[in-house]
C-alpha cells in the first residue's frame, strides 16, 4: 500500500496510534470557557484535573476491562494513560473551575473573571 509522505505535523507528533491523546474542543462565550474532552469508558476516579502555574492539566487512564479467559477478536479502541494540558488565559478565574463527566465527555467549565466580561456602556 502506498502511503502519502506527509510532513510531520507538530500538533500530531505525540500521537501514538494505540494510545492517542483524547480529542478536545475548546470554546468560549461571554461568561466562560468550555473544554470538552472525549474519554469514553474512563471512570471519574481515574481522571485527575489540576492547575499548575498557568496550565490546566487533565490526566487519567482508560482501563481495559478484559479477563484472561477472554479472547479479543477485534480491538480498535484505545486504552492506556492520557494527558493533555491547556494554557489558561489571563481572564480565566482559576478558583472557579468545574468539571463533569457526561456520556464519556469530560466537560470543564472555567468562569471568566468579573472584570473581563463584556460590559454594556450606556450613553449619557
Amino acid at each position: 500500500m502506498i502511503r502519502f509522505n506527509l510532513m510531520p505535523n507538530p500538533a500530531l507528533a505525540n500521537r501514538n496510534p494505540r494510545a492517542p491523546q483524547p480529542r478536545v474542543d475548546v470554546f468560549e462565550n461571554d461568561t466562560e470557557f468550555n473544554l470538552k474532552i472525549e474519554i469514553p469508558g474512563a471512570l471519574k476516579d481515574d481522571v485527575k484535573i489540576w492547575v499548575e502555574n498557568d496550565l490546566l492539566i487533565v490526566s487519567g487512564e482508560k482501563k481495559r476491562n478484559i479477563s484472561e479467559d477472554d479472547q479479543a477478536i477485534i480491538s480498535e479502541r484505545n486504552f492506556g494513560r492520557f494527558q493533555r494540558s491547556f494554557r489558561l488565559p489571563d481572564n480565566a478565574d482559576r478558583n472557579n473551575i468545574e468539571a463533569e463527566l457526561q456520556n464519556g465527555v469530560l466537560v470543564i467549565v472555567l468562569k471568566k473573571s468579573a472584570e473581563s466580561k463584556p460590559k454594556d456602556i450606556s450613553i449619557k
Binding site: 502519502f4 474512563a42 479502541r77 456520556n103
Partner: protein, 145 residues
C-alpha cells in the same frame, strides 16, 4: 503439536477484521492529516458464553444510538450532534468530529438472537451477544478403563 481451540466465529469475523484493517490503513492516513475520526472504533471480545461488541461513542445519548439486526448483520449507527453549542461561541480547538456514525458486524451463526442485549455507560456501548447452548464450550469427561 499444540492444540488450537476451535472458534467457529473466528473465520467469519476475521474477514470483517481484514476489511476493517484494509480500510483502517487507508483511513489512517486521512485521519492523521486532519485529526478527524472517520469511523467508529470497535472491540469484539469472545467470552465463554457470549461475544461482546464494544464501541466508543463519547458525547452521544442513549436516544441517539440505533442497533439493528438484519439477517446476520449487526449494525450500530448513531448521530453525534453539535447543537448544544451556540454559534456565537468562539472556538479555539476543534478536534472532535460530529455527524453520522455507522458500523456493521457480521455475526457468527452461533449466536442466540433472542438474547441480545445492549447497554450504554460512560460513552461506551456494549452489545452482549449470547452464544447458543450448543456453541458454548463444554467439558466432556472421558473415563479411562
Amino acid at each position: 503439536m499444540s492444540l488450537v481451540r476451535w472458534r467457529p466465529a473466528r473465520n467469519i469475523l476475521s474477514i470483517q477484521d481484514e476489511i476493517n484493517r484494509m480500510f483502517g490503513d487507508f483511513l489512517g492516513d486521512v485521519r492523521g492529516e486532519d485529526g478527524a475520526m472517520m469511523s467508529l472504533p470497535l472491540d469484539i471480545i469472545e467470552k465463554n458464553d457470549k461475544f461482546v461488541v464494544a464501541a466508543d461513542l463519547p458525547g452521544l445519548k442513549k436516544e441517539d444510538i440505533r442497533i439493528t439486526l438484519q439477517n446476520n448483520l449487526l449494525t450500530i449507527s448513531g448521530t453525534k450532534s453539535k447543537k448544544s453549542e451556540s454559534k456565537d461561541d468562539a472556538h479555539y480547538m476543534m478536534e472532535r468530529s460530529f455527524g453520522s456514525l455507522c458500523r456493521t458486524v457480521n455475526l457468527p451463526p452461533s449466536i442466540d438472537h433472542s438474547g441480545i442485549e445492549a447497554e450504554f455507560v460512560d460513552g461506551v456501548l456494549s452489545v452482549m451477544l449470547p452464544k447458543k447452548e450448543d456453541a458454548k464450550p463444554k467439558e466432556i469427561r472421558v473415563g479411562i478403563k
